[in-house]
C-alpha cells in the first residue's frame, strides 16, 4: 500500500472551489423570488408528488459538480502515489544538485562493450532529465575543465550541453577540489534539499587524501550520494610500471639492456602475455611473459642501436580492458662510444704488472671482442706522441715521467677543444718536473701545483672526504658504493699545494687531513682531473675496490662531456610539468612543442637559478612530444599516471567513514535502471484524475441536460 501525496500542495487551496456549487445553491435558495400566486394548492400537490425525486437528482448533480471541481484542483496539485514510506512532504521540495563526474583516466576501462565514462555520462543525463522546474543543478568534472560552472542553473538544456561538453581525460584527480566547489555552489542556493552526486568507477585513487573535515566549506545537511558505474569488484589490469635502461645514454653499437617492470594488479595470473619492444614504431623484440597476480614482473630486452640521437621507444603489452596503460613510451638517447687513449708511463712485460692493467679493466670490463661503451687504447708514451689526439675523447696519463714539448702543445690544443685529461701519478711523477713542464708554463695541463710526496704510516684505511657529493661523476656513489669509495687504504700520494690552486680547480676527494686525492681543473674547454695517487695498487687499494670501476667510467664519461645530456627535457608522467632546459646559446629562440596529436605550442624560456628553463604543463595525453629550440630538437615521452592503473575498489565502509555525520548513500548503477531509488520516483495520478474528471463532466452534461 502506497502513500498518497501531492507534488504541488499549494493547489489544494483550490479545492475550496469545490464548495462553489454548494454556495451558489445556498445563495439561490436564499434569493428565491417570492410570488403571490393563486393556484398554490396545485403547486403544493406537485411539490409533494414529483419534487422529491427531482430534488434527489438535483443533489446528485450538485455532488457531481462539486466532485468535478475537487478533481480539477487535486489534479493540478499533481497527486502521486509514493511506493515507499518516506517524508512525503519533501517530495515537492526544490532540490539543488551538484553532479560530480569522475573523468579521470580509469573511467575509460572497458567492460560490457562500453566504458565507465560513457555509463557515467548516461547516468548523469538521467539525473538531469529528472530535474523539475523548481530544481537547480551544476555539473562538475573531477579533473577540472577549462570552463567550470560558476553557478547553479535550472536550465536543463544548458546542463545537458555542459554534460555533453565533458570528456574523459588521461589524468588522475582528487575529489577534494570538486567537493570544495560543490559545497560553495550549494551554499548560494536556498533550496531545502541539497545533494552532491558523485558518479565514479569507485576506484580508490581519487579518494586518497579526501577528508571533508579539511574542506573550507562544508554543509552537513547536504546529502552525498556516490553512484558507482562500470561494475565493481576485481577488475583485471596489467600495466608497465617503469622502463629502466642499464646505460643512459645508450652507446651506439653497444648492446644495452632495457628492463620493463610489468604490474599485474588483479589477483589472477596471466600467462604467456606478449610483450614487445618497439623503437621508432618498429618491433625489435618480443617475449611471452607470465604475470603472477598482484605482483610486479620484470622483463629485459638486450638491444643494440647503431645511430646516435634520440629514439622513440615503447614497451607494448597485449591489449586488455584498459588499453591506455598497455603501452609505455620512453626516450632512448643514443650516443657514440667513448674513445679513450691510455698512456702508460710504466709499461711492463706482463699485463698484470702494468700500470694500466686496472684502468683497462675498469674502462672496458666486457670480455672478448665485443665493443663496449668505452673503447680504450693503451699505448706507451713514445707511441702516443705519434697518434692524432683528435680521434679520442679523453686522454689518461698514468705515471708518465715526461712528455715532449710538441706533445704537450697538442695535448693543450686537445684540451682547449674540449677533450678531457686525467692524470694518474706514481713513482715516475716528479713534482718538480711536473710543476715545471705541466703547471708553471703557458701550456698548463695540471689543475694544481704538486708538492712533496706523502708517505702514510700504517695500513689502516682512512675515510676519504667526498667534497663534491653532487658532482655528476660522483652522484652514482651511494650506500655500499659510497662506503667502498671512501673506505680505501691510501699509502702514498703526491700532495697538491692547496694555496696555489688556479681558478676553477676544486677538490673532489680528499684525505681526512684535507689533502686532495682527486682534483678537477679546466684547460680551455676541456676538463682535467688529477688523481694524486697511482692508477694501480702500488700506492693505494682503490683499484681493487668495487668503487674503482664506476669511478673510472663515470670520470671518463664526465671528462668527455658525455654526462651532459643533450636532451632538452626528461620523460614525464601526467600531470607532471615538462621542464625544458634550453642551452645558453639558444636564449632568444622560442621553444616549439608538438604534441602527439600534432598540435603545436610555443614557449619562451626564463632564467631560473642561473639556468634557462621553460615549463610546459599541457602534456595531458600520452605519447611523444617533439621539442625544437632553434636547430636542436628532442623527444619527450609522456605516460599516463600509474595510479590510474590500479582498479582496487574503495570500500563502502571506507567511504562512509569519510562522511561522518553527513547523510551518505552508495548506489551501484547498471544501464537500464533508474539512478535514484524508486521512492523518489512517485507514480503520478494526475492523468487518472483528469480521466475521471472528463468522465464526470460527460455524466454531468448528460444529467444536467435531462433535468433541464
Amino acid at each position: 500500500m502506497g502513500w498518497f501525496a501531492f507534488l504541488n500542495p499549494a493547489f489544494l487551496w483550490g479545492a475550496l472551489a469545490a464548495s462553489i456549487p454548494i454556495i451558489i445553491h445556498l445563495i439561490n435558495r436564499r434569493r428565491a423570488r417570492v410570488v403571490r400566486f393563486p393556484a398554490v394548492q396545485f403547486i403544493l400537490r406537485s411539490e409533494r408528488r414529483v419534487a422529491r425525486k427531482y430534488r434527489v437528482k438535483q443533489w446528485l448533480l450538485l455532488a457531481l459538480r462539486t466532485l468535478i471541481l475537487f478533481l480539477l484542483t487535486t489534479a493540478l496539485a499533481e497527486p502521486v502515489l509514493q511506493p515507499n514510506v518516506g517524508d512525503l512532504a519533501e517530495i515537492n521540495q526544490a532540490r539543488a544538485l551538484v553532479l560530480v563526474l569522475d573523468n579521470s583516466l580509469s573511467m575509460t576501462y572497458h567492460a560490457g562493450g562500453t566504458t565507465a565514462w560513457e555509463l557515467a555520462k548516461e547516468a548523469a543525463g538521467l539525473l538531469v532529465q529528472e530535474l523539475r522546474p523548481q530544481d537547480q543543478a551544476a555539473v562538475l568534472p573531477l579533473v577540472p575543465a577549462e570552463e567550470q560552472p560558476g553557478a547553479l542553473s535550472g536550465d536543463r538544456w544548458r546542463l545537458s550541453e555542459d554534460l555533453a561538453g565533458l570528456s574523459s581525460t588521461y589524468e588522475s584527480g582528487s575529489f577534494v577540489a570538486p567537493f570544495q566547489q560543490a559545497y560553495t555552489l550549494l551554499k548560494t542556493s536556498d533550496a531545502p534539499k541539497k545533494e552532491i552526486v558523485v558518479i565514479t568507477d569507485r576506484t580508490r585513487t581519487p579518494w586518497v587524501g579526501f577528508e571533508p573535515a579539511a574542506l573550507l566549506v562544508i554543509d552537513p545537511q547536504v546529502q552525498v550520494t556516490v553512484v558507482a558505474v562500470g561494475g565493481s569488484g576485481a577488475r583485471a589490469n596489467t600495466t608497465i610500471g617503469a622502463v629502466r635502461l642499464d646505460h643512459s645514454p645508450v652507446v651506439a653499437g653497444v648492446r644495452t639492456r632495457i628492463t620493463a617492470s610489468l604490474i599485474n594488479y588483479s589477483a589472477t595470473d596471466r600467462h604467456q602475455v606478449p610483450v614487445r619492444l618497439l623503437v621508432e614504431d618498429r618491433t625489435l623484440d618480443q617475449r611471452l611473459i607470465d604475470l603472477p597476480g598482484g605482483r610486479t614482473t620484470e622483463v629485459s630486452f638486450d638491444v643494440s642501436l647503431d645511430q646516435p640521437g634520440s629514439r622513440a621507444g615503447a614497451i607494448r603489452l597485449a591489449e586488455d580492458a584498459f588499453p591506455v596503460d598497455d603501452v609505455f613510451y620512453f626516450t632512448l638517447p643514443v650516443r657514440k662510444a667513448l674513445r679513450v687513449l691510455v698512456i702508460d708511463g710504466d709499461p711492463r712485460t706482463t699485463l698484470v704488472a702494468s700500470e694500466t692493467f686496472y684502468l683497462l679493466n675498469a674502462l672496458n670490463p666486457v670480455r672478448g671482442n665485443r665493443p663496449g661503451a668505452i673503447q680504450p687504447r693503451v699505448v706507451p708514451v713514445e707511441e702516443a706522441e705519434e697518434l692524432r689526439l683528435g680521434e679520442f675523447d679523453v686522454v689518461l696519463l698514468a705515471n708518465v715521467k715526461s712528455l715532449s714539448a710538441s706533445f704537450r702543445t697538442r695535448l693543450l690544443e686537445f684540451a682547449n677543444q674540449g677533450g678531457g685529461l686525467w692524470w694518474f701519478l706514481g713513482h715516475h711523477a716528479d713534482p718538480d718536473v711536473y710543476n715545471r713542464t705541466f703547471f708553471d708554463v703557458s701550456t698548463r695541463l695540471l689543475p694544481a701545483r704538486l708538492g712533496p710526496r706523502l708517505e702514510r704510516a700504517g695500513s689502516h684505511p682512512v675515510r676519504l672526504q667526498v667534497e663534491e657529493q653532487r658532482h655528476p661523476a660522483l652522484q652514482s656513489f651511494s650506500g655500499q658504493g659510497y662506503e667502498a669509495l671512501v673506505g680505501v687504504r691510501v699509502r702514498r700520494l703526491l700532495t697538491a699545494e692547496l694555496t696555489a690552486f688556479p681558478p676553477g680547480t676544486r677538490t673532489l676527494l680528499s684525505l681526512p687531513d684535507g689533502r686532495p686525492l682527486l682534483l678537477e681543473g679546466r684547460v680551455g674547454q676541456g676538463r682535467v682531473w688529477m688523481f694524486t695517487s697511482t692508477a694501480d695498487v702500488d700506492w693505494n687499494e682503490l683499484p681493487v675496490t668495487t668503487a674503482y670501476l664506476p669511478l673510472v667510467q663515470a670520470g671518463v664519461t664526465y671528462l668527455a662531456g658525455s654526462e651532459r645530456s643533450d636532451r632538452l627535457a626528461a620523460d614525464v608522467r601526467i600531470p607532471q610539468m615538462m621542464q625544458i632546459l634550453v642551452p645558453e646559446k639558444r636564449r632568444e629562440a622560442p621553444i616549439t612543442i608538438v604534441d602527439p596529436g600534432g598540435k603545436e605550442a610555443r614557449l619562451f624560456p626564463q632564467e631560473l637559478d642561473g639556468r634557462l628553463e621553460a615549463q610546459y604543463g599541457e602534456a595531458k595525453r600520452p605519447g611523444f612530444y617533439r621539442l625544437r629550440v632553434g636547430p636542436e630538437s628532442g623527444l619527450v615521452a609522456v605516460n599516463p599516471p600509474l595510479e590510474e592503473s590500479d582498479f582496487t575498489d574503495v570500500q563502502v565502509d571506507e567511504l562512509r567513514d569519510k562522511f561522518p555525520g553527513i547523510p551518505f548513500a552508495l548506489v551501484q548503477w547498471e544501464r537500464g535502471q533508474p539512478v535514484r531509488p524508486p521512492q523518489v520516483q512517485p507514480m503520478s495520478l494526475a492523468g487518472w484524475f483528469l480521466i475521471g474528471l472528463l468522465a464526470l463532466m460527460l455524466v454531468e452534461g448528460v444529467f444536467a441536460n435531462r433535468l433541464r
Binding site: 428565491a32 417570492v34 410570488v35 400566486f37 393563486p38 394548492q41 396545485f42
Partner: protein
C-alpha cells in the same frame, strides 16, 4: 399612418383608465365588424317592488308604498325583454393576480362591463354581483341606460380581496333569484370544485341559463417560472419553495385536469363553459355571448 390600437387586446385596453370606455371600445369594435345588428326591440311592464338601492332613479320610487311602509321601494317596470342577466364577478384576492399588467379581475371586470354594455343596448336587464367568500355587492338587474354607469362604477370601486367561496355564493344567488334568467359567472373557479359544481347545479335547478367564463392568468396555465421560487397563496397562509422546473409538467397536468373537470361537468349540466386566458382578446367573451344569444 399609425396602426389603430387593438382594443380587444386586454393589455391595450388596460391603458384606458375608464372601464366604461373600455367596455365601449370592445363592444363597438366588435359590432363594427358585424354586418347585422345584435340589438332588437323591447316592451315594458310592471314587475315587482324592491328595496331602494343607491343608483336607483328617484322617479321610480313608489311613494305609495313609502307612505304605507315608511321605507323606500322601487316600483320596477321590467321591460318585456328577451333576457334578464346576472353578472357574477369574482372579486376574491386570487383575482388580483396579474402577469402581464392585466389582472384577472381587470379582465373579468372589463368583460362584465362589455357584456353589460351590449345587453343594456339591447334593453336587456343586467344585474351585477361581486363576490369573494360571500356577496360583496349586488346590483339588481336593470335595463335603463344609466344602469351601465352604475354597473361600471361598482366594478371600478371593487378591490379584489378575501377568500373565494364560490359554491356558497352560487347557492346564495340561486336562492335569491326569483325569475329565471341568464347567469354569467366570471371567476377563476379556484375553489373546491365539488362546491362550485353544487352551486352551478343549483342555478340550473332554478332553470337559469348559466354561462361560465373561467378566467385564468397566463401564468396559471403555462407556469413559465424557471427560478427557485417561494409561492405564497393569494388568499391564505400557504407558501411553498420549489424549483418550478421540477414541477412544471405535473402542475400543467393538474391545471389541465382542473379545467377539463369543470368543462365536463358544465357540459353535463348544460352550462356553457369557456376558458379565458388573460391574454385572450376580450371579444372572445362577447362573441361567445352573442353566439349563445343568437342560438
Amino acid at each position: 399612418m399609425a396602426d389603430k390600437p387593438n382594443y380587444f387586446d386586454p393589455v391595450t385596453l388596460s391603458k384606458v383608465s375608464s372601464l366604461q370606455l373600455r367596455a365601449r371600445y370592445v363592444v363597438e369594435g366588435l359590432i363594427s365588424g358585424l354586418h347585422t345588428s345584435p340589438y332588437k326591440g323591447f316592451s315594458v311592464e310592471f314587475s315587482e317592488h324592491r328595496q331602494y338601492a343607491p343608483g336607483d332613479e328617484i322617479r321610480h320610487i313608489d311613494w305609495k308604498a313609502f307612505g304605507k311602509f315608511d321605507r323606500y321601494f322601487i316600483k320596477e317596470y321590467e321591460e318585456e325583454t328577451n333576457l334578464r342577466c346576472y353578472l357574477l364577478v369574482d372579486a376574491s384576492a386570487s383575482m388580483e393576480y396579474r402577469s402581464n399588467g392585466v389582472s384577472k379581475f381587470d379582465y373579468a371586470a372589463c368583460l362584465a362591463a362589455a357584456l353589460a354594455y351590449v345587453m343594456l343596448n339591447q334593453q336587456d336587464l343586467v344585474g351585477l354581483v361581486t363576490f369573494a367568500d360571500g356577496i360583496r355587492q349586488q346590483l339588481p338587474p336593470r335595463s335603463s341606460p344609466g344602469h351601465l354607469r352604475t354597473v361600471i362604477e361598482s366594478l371600478e370601486q371593487t378591490v379584489p380581496r378575501g377568500d373565494t367561496n364560490l359554491g356558497r355564493t352560487l347557492h346564495h344567488i340561486a336562492s335569491q333569484l326569483k325569475r329565471r334568467g341568464l347567469v354569467i359567472v366570471i371567476s377563476d373557479l379556484l375553489d373546491e370544485p365539488a362546491d362550485v359544481v353544487q352551486g352551478l347545479r343549483h342555478l340550473r335547478y332554478q332553470k337559469h341559463e348559466v354561462l361560465v367564463f373561467h378566467v385564468l392568468d397566463h401564468d396559471e396555465i403555462a407556469f413559465p417560472f424557471t427560478q427557485l421560487t417561494q409561492f405564497e397563496d393569494c388568499e391564505g397562509e400557504l407558501r411553498v419553495i420549489t424549483d418550478p422546473r421540477a414541477i412544471s409538467a405535473d402542475y400543467q397536468q393538474q391545471i389541465k385536469e382542473f379545467v377539463e373537470g369543470y368543462k365536463q361537468m358544465c357540459q353535463r349540466q348544460g352550462i356553457d363553459y369557456t376558458l379565458f386566458d388573460t391574454r385572450t382578446p376580450l371579444d372572445k367573451g362577447l362573441l361567445k355571448y352573442l353566439a349563445w344569444r343568437g342560438a
